[in-house]
């Protein structure tokens, strides 16, 4: 059984563009120029129980809109959504009992009251029994290390502390499916690591399905085997991160620092690959394929005197931005 099934899902927003000038404003009063914007354009995918999927795309690509349809906040314009065997917006109140949601930029907790009071309210709202709560939350609180924060009001917490509490709050009813929208935005490395560690743990322990949107590719690399990439409301890639890297990030960059000045022509005639100048004419960067690496280094080392050399893998971040610039086709 799938945790998420989406078929030809579409969401259109009607927006109107205002005319310029005072006369235009008066005309707007009577007739408006409506424009239909398709935020999510006939996307289809499925997610199995226990999968961790990264949902990525640029700002405005339709990530949040999809998540909001999957969580029952927005009603789709057309298409089929089945999440945890239910139609999110039709059976909203029963459905949300089975999901956890964290919006990184929006707090789920009550601003003025202590964290544990928020937890207590949510426990009531989700109808969690004392026994289930204690069993599950003791562990969550311990792993996220938020025990000392419980009696502080949310407004006094730092962003990192708050985020950990948010995560705990989303798990009070131990949902089988967790939606995380930018959960690590603005957090420092240590907190990020802790949160990732925690997500892995609950995924292993409870087989929790996790759908994650983020701009931080290291999150995706650390957590997700599968990524779904979105551009202008359409899915442009759906598959393993490994595969994406192999197709797109096959190359390496080798940075040579020469003892003497060299010219591009010299280098190109010796080794016909793409050469790019570094900060000066002592520094050159070769873009090569992985299996050519040894050959290129061998040739250069035998012909020139070198001061330094280092090899860099193309980061996922660069791969993604390349894809957005060039389109997926050539991969």
């Amino acid at each position: 059984m799938y945790a998420i099934e989406v078929e030809k899902l579409r969401k259109e927003f009607k927006s109107y563009s205002s005319r310029s000038g005072l006369a235009g404003a008066f005309r707007d009063l009577f007739t408006r120029n409506y424009k239909i914007v398709r935020a999510v354009d006939d996307i289809s995918f499925t997610v199995k129980q226990g999968e961790m999927v990264g949902y990525i795309g640029e700002n405005g690509a339709g990530k949040s809109t999809t998540i909001k349809m999957l969580t029952g906040i927005l009603t789709p314009t057309s298409g089929r959504v089945v999440v945890n065997g239910m139609n999110p917006h039709k059976e909203r109140e029963r459905f949300v009992q089975t999901i956890g949601v964290v919006f990184g930029q929006r707090s789920q907790l009550w601003w003025d009251i202590a964290v544990q009071e928020s937890f207590r309210l949510l426990k009531k709202v989700y109808r969690v029994s004392d026994q289930a709560y204690n069993e599950h939350m003791d562990h969550v609180i311990e792993t996220l290390d938020i025990g000392p924060l419980l009696d502080k009001p949310v407004r006094k917490l730092s962003l990192g502390q708050r985020m950990r509490c948010e995560l705990a709050a989303a798990l009070i009813h131990n949902p089988p499916l967790l939606f995380l929208d930018e959960p690590t935005i603005g957090l420092d490395v240590l907190v990020k690591l802790k949160i990732r560690q925690f997500l892995k743990e609950i995924n292993e322990k409870y087989n929790t399905t996790i759908l994650l949107t983020t701009h931080d590719m290291t999150d995706i690399e650390a957590l997700c085997e599968r990524v779904i990439m979105l551009d202008e409301g359409k899915i442009i890639y759906d598959g393993s991160l490994q595969h994406l890297k192999q197709n797109w990030g096959e190359g390496r960059q080798i940075h040579f620092q020469f003892r003497d000045m060299v010219s591009k022509e010299e280098l190109t005639s010796l080794v016909p690959v793409t050469w790019e100048q570094g900060e000066d004419r002592y520094n050159w960067i070769a873009h090569v394929l992985t299996h050519d690496m040894a050959h290129v280094i061998g040739k250069i080392v035998s012909s020139y005197e070198l001061k330094d050399i280092h090899i860099r893998e193309v980061s996922t971040e660069e791969i993604i931005s390349n894809i957005y610039e060039e389109g997926i086709h050539h991969g």
């Binding site: 969580t71 906040i73 009603t75 919006f103 929006r106 009071e117 009531k124 989700y126 929208d181």
Partner: protein, 261 residues
């Protein structure tokens, strides 16, 4: 049952939070009392010179005003969602509300409740007591039940109108500036409707039925038999208004567009 226990939980949380800010609570209490006092003085001044207003005596009008304060206090404590558009739609708080397994309107009522407004109800009871003693009104035991019914009816009329107005935010992005105007119109309900012209009277009875919050139900306790039909319609109007507003709300939630991040 579940909803009642949630309600109590929120309420105890609310009181706990309020008690944390003691000075705030004190100032609020004081300013509420002063507000009520000013209102009362206003009424006394306005009706001080005229003993009769279209057949209504000064004390009767004060009684109506006192009655009006009770459902209004209940409304202000629980359904005062005038800033719904600003707070929930523009700022996108509605997203959070919709991811919880409780009816969205109920959650908002819980989050926005202001129990200190209940004070106005006590003022209302005092005002009514004062007027009643001057009018030498007598009450039966079942009048208590009717009083509760009429107050609830009035509260739901008020709530229904304001929930409907809040629901408009689901369709239109524009900030609704009708809210303050509505508060003004709402105040007309606390004067005898037969002092207005027919159109206004019709509106206050059937379109924006604010008359059911003040004059109609109060007329029963003033033993104005010619108004009894309207008096007894109060709970019915409450149920109708509230139901309609709920339907409108639910339809609105489906239209909710969310706020961009």
């Amino acid at each position: 049952m579940f909803y009642i226990s949630i309600f109590l939980q929120y309420m105890s949380q609310y009181i706990k939070t309020k008690l944390q800010y003691r000075t705030d609570l004190f100032v609020e209490f004081l300013s509420d009392l002063m507000f009520q006092g000013v209102n009362l003085i206003f009424i006394l001044v306005v009706f001080g010179h005229t003993q009769f207003l279209n057949g209504w005596t000064r004390d009767e009008i004060i009684f109506i005003y006192g009655f009006f304060l009770v459902p209004f206090a209940l409304f202000a404590s629980f359904f005062n969602i005038w800033d719904f558009n600003e707070r929930y739609i523009v700022r996108g708080e509605m997203d959070r509300v919709l991811t919880r397994p409780v009816h969205s309107l109920f959650q908002i009522v819980l989050e926005r409740m202001e129990l200190e407004s209940l004070l106005g109800g006590i003022t209302g009871l005092i005002v009514m007591g004062y007027a009643a003693s001057r009018l030498h009104l007598t009450f039966h035991w079942y009048d208590v039940i009717l009083f509760v019914l009429f107050v609830l009816g009035g509260t739901f009329v008020y709530a229904g109108i304001f929930i409907s107005l809040a629901s408009i935010s689901f369709w239109s992005d524009a900030r609704s500036s009708i809210m303050p105007m509505m508060y003004n119109i709402g105040n007309y309900g606390r004067y005898p409707v037969d002092i207005y012209n027919r159109v206004i009277r019709y509106i206050l009875t059937w379109i924006l039925p604010f008359a059911f919050v003040g004059v109609y139900p109060a007329a029963y306790f003033l033993r104005k038999t010619e108004w009894y039909t309207y008096s007894f319609l109060t709970p019915v109007m409450g149920v109708i208004c509230f139901t309609l507003s709920l339907l409108l709300w639910n339809a609105g939630v489906k239209r909710y567009r969310g706020a961009g991040n």
